[in-house]
């Protein structure tokens, strides 16, 4: 099938889809799966069949819409009516009221907590208003298992343009001019990376899509690959053409079964449309992609470790030089890019480098998708232009901290990043500013923390993660993370000593300097950034043996506030140690000798009568 035929097919698809026909789109990302979206989708289909409405309304399960806090999400197109937290019992009403009656069901709408206003349309929901969803928007319109949906939205037109009008060198120049930088974390200029691989000697070259996304709390790559796999495939095709590769791999971590499934279907459908395989779109360009599944190791997301994984060895990083661009997979030149980076490529080709480079800051062009999670009201995936401030993202888009608590810090960059405190909330987000603040962009995870989060506990958490995920080869990383964890653990248990902070800093520096790969080299960041901004909290743990946030188990006490206790027996019933004594309507007492600080009573009390000190 040639390029012209693709355009014909596109025309046919668009004609057959009457724009005015209502479509019920149901968000079906992994998050919404957990909310039961498949049952919702099935219920809609059953009801429509029952009422014989197949010709008047379509049902489409789409990729992730991003507003994960409010799932299951149903958006009625073409108006864009936004229904959130749909339940099975709402299905009939949606069909009768909104589809047939063209009326909006108020109780299913999102209510803006600041104004108490009910918002009817997706574009006006505050969560979406300030975003700039160039890459992510299409998730809401595409069924990832239907290539026609992607083609209807101008899909693969960038590939056609490249094959028809551009030489490989011209493609690379365009990507260079756009200023696109790697979205996986390090932010290396993508155009230059492609150039290295292009100039490397050899006929056999590989391109790889890194969907390992090991950073806990980050899931945008998953949602992209799950929801819009063709955008990634198209990007890889363009990259392979530019570099001269004939084979590519999409490496997906094994914890993402839906992404693997949707990507597999997408690859098969692309092949059917002559978009993969030999003589793509009737040209001399041939390229094939296979999927490689990860086996559960954070370090195997590192480029050279990923290579080892595909080759069938343990995922231990390799010494560089030689760099993968020259000697990568099976010794051949290999180009790695992150899922989001690949997804940006078709847009840059279609809209031009100049358009793209006008978004963002001087050093960081384009948009970035972040996963906003933790102590935040509007948990979800947000796409914003580089340069937006943390404050705007967390408060305007994220809706602030739940329960009216105070913002304390936001953690970016995963275990290689650091915590950014409240005084830096007006920091514009870009690669350089985040690094200067002691953190890094990373893959885009943004974990928000409030006054009840203990920063010593956070440091301990990351060090525990790193000592487990370290490959274990370099003494500095293996022992460094283990010993740092031991010291911070002692501090969290009240066993810290004055010299500990200095020792931590010394050890952190040695771990960073001596380790061979990125994991060890950035292992120091969580510790150093929390000490930098929250030193007083560490000192409280060491000197006063107190945990100000009320988290570190060995340093806190649970006790009943007499004035508030109503004697309802709720806490008594849940205590696993039978440490609470009391009678109905009489104030309860916690026996400190038996209390194991599990937190069950605090959770059970409806009167805020239990305090942690």
């Amino acid at each position: 099938m040639g390029i012209k035929k693709l355009e014909e097919i596109r025309g046919e698809i668009l004609k057959s889809r009457k724009k005015k026909k209502p479509t019920i789109t149901i968000c079906s990302g992994t998050g919404c799966h957990a909310y039961g979206c498949i049952k919702v989708a099935q219920a809609f289909e059953d009801e429509i069949k029952r009422q014989n409405l197949q010709d008047t309304v379509d049902v489409r399960t789409t990729g992730c819409h991003g507003f994960c806090e409010r799932g299951p999400i149903v958006v009625i197109q073409p108006e864009g009516i936004f229904y959130q937290r749909i339940q099975l019992k709402d299905i009939k009403e949606v069909i009768s009221e909104t589809i047939k009656g063209k009326k909006i069901i108020e109780r299913l709408l999102y209510v803006d907590p600041k104004t108490d206003e009910k918002i009817a349309y997706e574009k006006e929901v505050p969560f979406y208003k300030k975003q700039r969803r160039i890459i992510f928007e299409n998730n809401g319109f595409i069924d990832p298992t239907e290539i026609e949906d992607y083609i209807a939205l101008n899909g693969y037109s960038a590939l056609a343009k490249v094959l028809k009008q551009m030489t490989p060198q011209e493609v690379i120049e365009e990507i260079k001019k756009s200023g696109l930088r790697g979205r996986g974390g390090a932010g290396f200029p993508t155009g230059y990376k492609w150039d290295f691989a292009r100039k490397a000697k050899g006929d056999t070259k590989y391109v790889i899509c890194n969907c390992d996304e090991g950073d806990p709390g980050a899931y945008m790559d998953r949602s992209l690959l799950e929801g819009n796999p063709h955008s990634v495939i198209e990007g890889m095709l363009i990259g392979a053409y530019a570099i001269g590769a004939k084979e590519g791999f999409i490496y997906v971590r094994e914890e993402y079964p839906l992404a693997v499934e949707n990507a597999t279907i997408a690859l098969e459908q692309a092949k059917d449309f002559s978009l993969l395989g030999k003589n793509i779109l009737g040209t001399k360009f041939s390229f094939d992609i296979s999927i490689s599944k990860g086996a559960g190791a954070f370090v195997s997301g590192e480029e050279s470790a990923l290579l080892a994984c595909i080759e069938g060895r343990i995922g231990i990083p390799r010494q560089r030089p030689p760099y993968p661009a020259l000697k990568g997979l099976w010794g051949k030149p290999t180009n790695f890019n992150n899922v989001e980076t690949w997804a940006n490529v078709p847009f840059i080709i279609n809209k031009g480098a100049r358009w793209y480079s006008q978004i963002g800051t001087n050093g960081s062009k384009g948009t970035k998708i972040f996963s906003l999670v933790g102590k935040i009201n509007n948990t979800g995936l947000v796409e914003v232009p580089m340069g937006m401030t943390l404050r705007e993202i967390i408060f305007d888009i994220g809706g602030g901290i739940p329960g009216g608590k105070k913002f304390k810090a936001v953690q970016t960059g995963g275990p290689s990043g650091g915590c950014i405190p409240a005084e830096k909330l007006d920091l514009p987000i870009d690669y350089e500013s985040l690094t200067q603040a002691g953190s890094m962009m990373g893959s885009g995870g943004m974990i928000v923390m409030d006054e009840k989060t203990c920063m010593v506990d956070v440091a301990k958490y990351f060090l525990n993660f790193l000592r487990d995920e370290s490959c274990g080869k370099c003494l500095s990383c293996r022992e460094g993370t283990q010993r740092m964890w031991e010291i911070v653990k002692d501090i969290s248990e009240g066993k810290g000593k004055e010299e500990d902070l200095e020792l931590l800093e010394e050890l952190a520096n040695a771990t960073r300097d001596a380790s061979m790969c990125g994991l060890g080299q950035t292992a120091a960041n969580p510790v150093l950034s929390t000490i930098r901004y929250f030193r007083d909290e560490f000192e409280a743990h060491i000197r006063d043996k107190k945990c100000p946030a009320g988290v570190c188990i060995k340093l806190i006490r649970y006790s009943v506030i007499e004035e508030k206790c109503t004697g309802c027996l709720a806490c008594l019933k849940v205590c696993p140690q039978e440490a609470i004594s009391g009678e109905l309507k009489k104030v309860h007492v916690i026996d400190q000798n038996k209390c194991i600080k599990c937190g069950a009573c605090f959770e059970a009390c409806n009167f805020d009568a239990i305090k942690i000190m």
Partner: protein
Amino acid sequence: MWREPVPGEASEFESIIKKHPREKKSLIPILQDIQAKFNFLPQDALALVSDTLKIPLIDVVSVASFYNAFSLTPRGKHLITVCMGTACHVRGAPAILEEFKRKLKIDVEETTDDNFFTLETVNCLGACALGPITVIDGDYYGQMKIRKVDKLIRKFRPEKRSKTE
């Protein structure tokens, strides 16, 4: 500790291995298939893979023990996975894990005496809006609370009271 081979298993291992090209790069996909079918990697399976792919047994064991996806010991009937990602951690996942450990009387990566439950942790499933999250046999249970743990365990194992022997 050597586990005696179970009769009939060898032919199943062979049929799994045959589905992949006989190359080093098939090692991890083959192990993933065996893990999916048997819920762990039997020792004689690893020995057979080593012989067939001509990879030294120690290298096969090295790979099998390096990755979280593989279990070298048999798992229980139901797999409980508690998410310990950063977002879930900040929302109280450690307390949920401790409650599971208490109620099941086992530690992480251990199996209950009756082989019913295996308890494991994972470092982020990517469903952070539902945190803290626990997955049992592939089903997601979001917004976990300490008091929901016992109910959830009893949903799978109703007769036995977790506090008695």
